[in-house]
Symmetry: D2
Subunit: 350 residues, 4 copies
């Protein structure tokens, strides 16, 4: 089931970074919904290389073509397939690393698992795969918005510089897709500094869903937080996730961490909008740790397919901080997971 | 699919804390494996209330009965069903909270989702459900051990006191199930202090799998870390998970975080044993944040089913720190997820 | 997924004919439905050996115990687990065939697949497994009846004697569970004749669902007839299934077989209630071929586990015609499949 | 899961007959297999309209483009996506039936289910969807052929004319894709007669898999025959399926129907190669009933979306007997189901 996610709202993706095309199939999307193509384009543009001055200088012009499931701009209930043709892919950059494993990449594990790999640009493991998630995520957001639910993500820390205080007022229209905060200039210069030195930095993404409804998620294995964790940990480079008070809860007392209730509702939201795996109706709140871009231009020690030690210097134009462009992918996976839970809930509301 | 986890190695659980019995069905367990009942009993005993002096004083004597799938002590390939009868359940403790929502519990969300709930002891959301996971986890461990893989978890922080240094040498035979560390006495007294004051504390569990093989997990949605995250976030009270350097990766440089390789193997394991969603063969390393026990005997504000504000004082005998007994459940879910990935890998090794 | 059926309404079964118990877990059953235990008992009694004078003389007293998911006689939304203890199982009957394959049984294929088998009474392949289906089917029927859908099955042919004409007026309260027809006495004597001669006969079961609603099933792989076929072909001994005009359609003209429509609805129902995989709202109509009981007391040629030829005479008390007791199992699987489709449809009715 | 079939070997399809393109994604295909594109083309050509003089005169030139998962002609383990552009689709033929339901088609049920439909040529329900199955089926056959398993299907009856005797010697290179038999000329003239009179005929397809291995399929719900039934009943127009002696078993005695064994193997194959849901290693044998093409040029009574009665005469170029071209689709679905079972079996052979 590697390439499929979801139970009722299902996304199946395909494609390698240097093959003919990438794309996917969204199955289980309800009939009769008018599709906002501009909104899909905006999300895909935000993910696209070149979307921010802090990203890669590589520019890709990812225009999805819808092949099915939409008739006269309205969904028909049939699976919605889409493709994006690859272009501007310079495979020759990869020739000299065809048989060498880039540190921090899936090169080594692919080779161990499959005994074969499309070494050009990461192949199936490339970040380009996430364009399909953004397409599907945009559809999921349109479904959620009919129930009043919105999903937004922004960068709240890069390379150790954290936003100390911020108002959550998306969309975040700056180079970091970050909420406005005092540390924004320092965060930006941290990313630029990493690029200048041929290095990269990690970051933390916060994601919230507002206008939530209670009752999404199931009590045992399919807890809302379990499904969301799977959805988001499946994004390349994500190394951690927490809900509400998260790791801080581990240092707190029950009397501090419990969200007490009054007739006006919950007095706090340490739960992050989920209790016992089921949404409370409060804002869903998650924080996601993203590692530094593994592709750096500094010399690194590695080995080749024969196990021989080598020094590697990675060429090409890479993001100094993948957390920035990953924020829209986090939104997408959150929206897909929530849309799926919403449909599962509807099944029992009849 | 709420009550089922896994693709080939599958566990389905049932049962409420105050119903007649709990149990489950392990499907997809290979035929011909001699079942070590003692090992199952040890894992279930470690989860059981009363297993540690730092836990609840409530004592449960959870002896599983195997109903199928094992013939002459050997697995037959048929589903292995097991039940544990409930006893020593004092339902009257719950009478006065039958229509009131305990803060930090699933009471409110269950009621919103189902419009009905078995209010005795959390019903389906009770921690007692995890005994089924321990049973299945013990079976999964036996399968993994045939490949040389072992899974262990221990508590490395409680209520803000963190183990500063430790050697990973399981099993951890102390009241905390913690690796030996200088802070152990302080950690223990932190838990006892919380109990004495009618409060509770959170904690952090570390889990490692050793003897790992490369190639488990799939490249896109079914990444090893994605599946493990779902498995572990599905345990009640878990609020965060990280792999390898985890949230610290967000503060680091690519040149620091990448695990370089030499002819002797990986020079570090910031990846936590997973690259691109596929295991590297290095130790799997995870840290898990567990919130403080929500059941505390201090007065808290809440509401009842009619939305009226109330003060609540929770009676009964509860763990001051659920992270302690949760460690074996973390092991179980890790083992189940790995066993499932192992079978999926085998499907392509023919 | 061998032991689980369904997407939202899911049944997982366990148990061998001569183990401690059989049972299962029904997951995804909606909350708030009052459970009619008498109705469950009636269906299980109809399946039970000894229920009809035309069946085995072996008597089993299968009383299910519900272990979870029902609180004060009402479903809670949690999984409903149930077990039936085995008793009156005479394993010694099987000692002399422990290492010999009974013709027409799964003995040989189990041994080839697993290299081990519980040879007592068929183990996991025993018809006793279907008691779990009847339990789950009775629950499914209760869900369907809320929408006005009823499911009934009856025997319309045994050993070559076919009911020439009949009115569909269930329940069919005769020894064959057959609709009233001129051939009924001949059908009964055919079964009795087979028993007298140590032989067995096959039969055809007809199953109809009435009060159907349009829109169940999906257009491509999850067609209503595809899912129903899987559900019913998974019953041991079933060798064929057809919908509506079925195999007769292969001999007909399009102008004969198409169901024309007028303002009053469909003029005929050759489709059997399904067009393009989606229910029309007309009666669902299926016919199912069941092979003769493979356990016969006549001498047969077979081999043992070492491949040596042997003559075998099967002892024990066996049904001369399994189609008779299988009719309620056909109802059960039909109801389970329809309940699942119903919930899937509801997911998109919100 | 409407558009996905399979557990490990998975096919997801998309596309409408008159949209931009159709295609699909094959996920779970093993890495390292050299792909025979000619063989894929041959199977797709056999399905294609115009492939036989007995089919529609409509000609489609379906050349699949592979978008992913194949690198230097070898599978990489990544999902294999493919598309076929639509062309030569004359939508205007459908303008006058845009709001009228064609008898025997999914028009009515689609409209009832979705409240919207792409009325051009059946949309998602069009037989054109099966081109994706043929592509995936050809891949599955290549996987099976590595184990020595071959799958073939041929027409053995049309419009009531049955092949009385034949040797199974595929491929069947005549206009009917039928095994050589005395009735072949009569069968052909029956189809031509139906076309001449503006009518259509049904047919029976036989499908066999040879070189089978024992142990495919699981004992309970995922029986080999259950999965195959679902796979094949999901093909549009199929109304019945039987295995081995099938419906004839219902008229037989146990002593006739049981397949006895000697030291040389099974003495007969009434089981059709499956016992207790698990393959025996004998040839898999199925017969499939296909209804007459619902699109006929004779006047029929129907209603429109407002429920008003109308007479309809269907224009366009349609097959007089869809069983002919459906035979390769039956092969495809059989191969896909067997490939999936094969991988599931491999998971337990480690």
């Amino acid at each position: 089931m590697s390439s499929t996610f979801g139970r009722l709202f299902r996304i199946t993706t395909f494609g390698e970074s240097h093959g003919p095309a990438l794309g996917g199939i969204v199955d289980g999307f309800p009939a009769g919904i008018r599709i906002d193509m501009d909104m899909i384009s905006r999300d895909m543009a935000r993910r696209r290389p070149g979307s921010t001055s802090l990203g890669t200088k590589r520019s890709e012009n990812d225009i999805p073509e819808i092949l099915s499931g939409v008739f006269n701009c309205v969904s028909t209930g049939a699976p919605i397939a889409f493709i994006v043709r690859n272009s501007n892919q310079i495979s020759s950059h990869y020739d000299d690393i065809a048989h060498t494993f880039r540190p921090g990449h899936a090169d080594y594990t692919f080779w161990k698992k499959y005994g074969i790999r499309d070494y050009r640009g990461g192949g199936r493991s490339s970040g380009r795969e996430t364009l399909s998630r953004c397409f599907a995520g945009a559809l999921a957001k349109q479904l959620l918005s009919q129930k009043g639910i919105s999903v937004n993500a922004g960068v709240i820390a890069v390379g150790g510089v954290k936003a100390s205080s911020y108002i959550w007022d998306p969309p975040f229209e700056n180079e970091l897709y970050a909420p406005d905060c005092p540390e924004l200039p320092e965060m930006i210069s941290r990313v630029e500094g990493a690029r200048a030195s041929g290095d990269s930095v990690g970051g933390i993404i916060e994601c919230r869903a507002r206008g939530m409804i209670a009752g999404l998620g199931d009590p045992v294995f399919d807890k809302a937080d379990a499904i969301l964790s799977m959805a988001i940990m499946s994004i390349g480079g994500v190394k951690g996730i927490e809900f509400g008070s998260g790791f801080a809860a581990a240092s707190s007392l029950g009397s501090e961490n419990n969200d007490q209730m009054t007739e006006k509702g919950f007095s706090s939201n340490n739960a992050g909008g989920i209790l016992g795996g089921i949404t409370t109706g409060e804002d869903l709140m998650m924080k996601i740790a993203v590692k530094p871009t593994p592709s750096i231009s500094r010399a690194q020690q590695t080995i080749d397919e024969n196990g021989n030690g080598k020094e590697i210097v990675i060429k090409g134009r890479h993001d100094p901080c993948i957390a920035i462009r990953a924020s829209v992918v986090v939104e997408a996976m959150t929206a897909i997971a929530l849309a799926d839970m919403l449909l599962c809930k509807e099944a029992y509301s009849g």
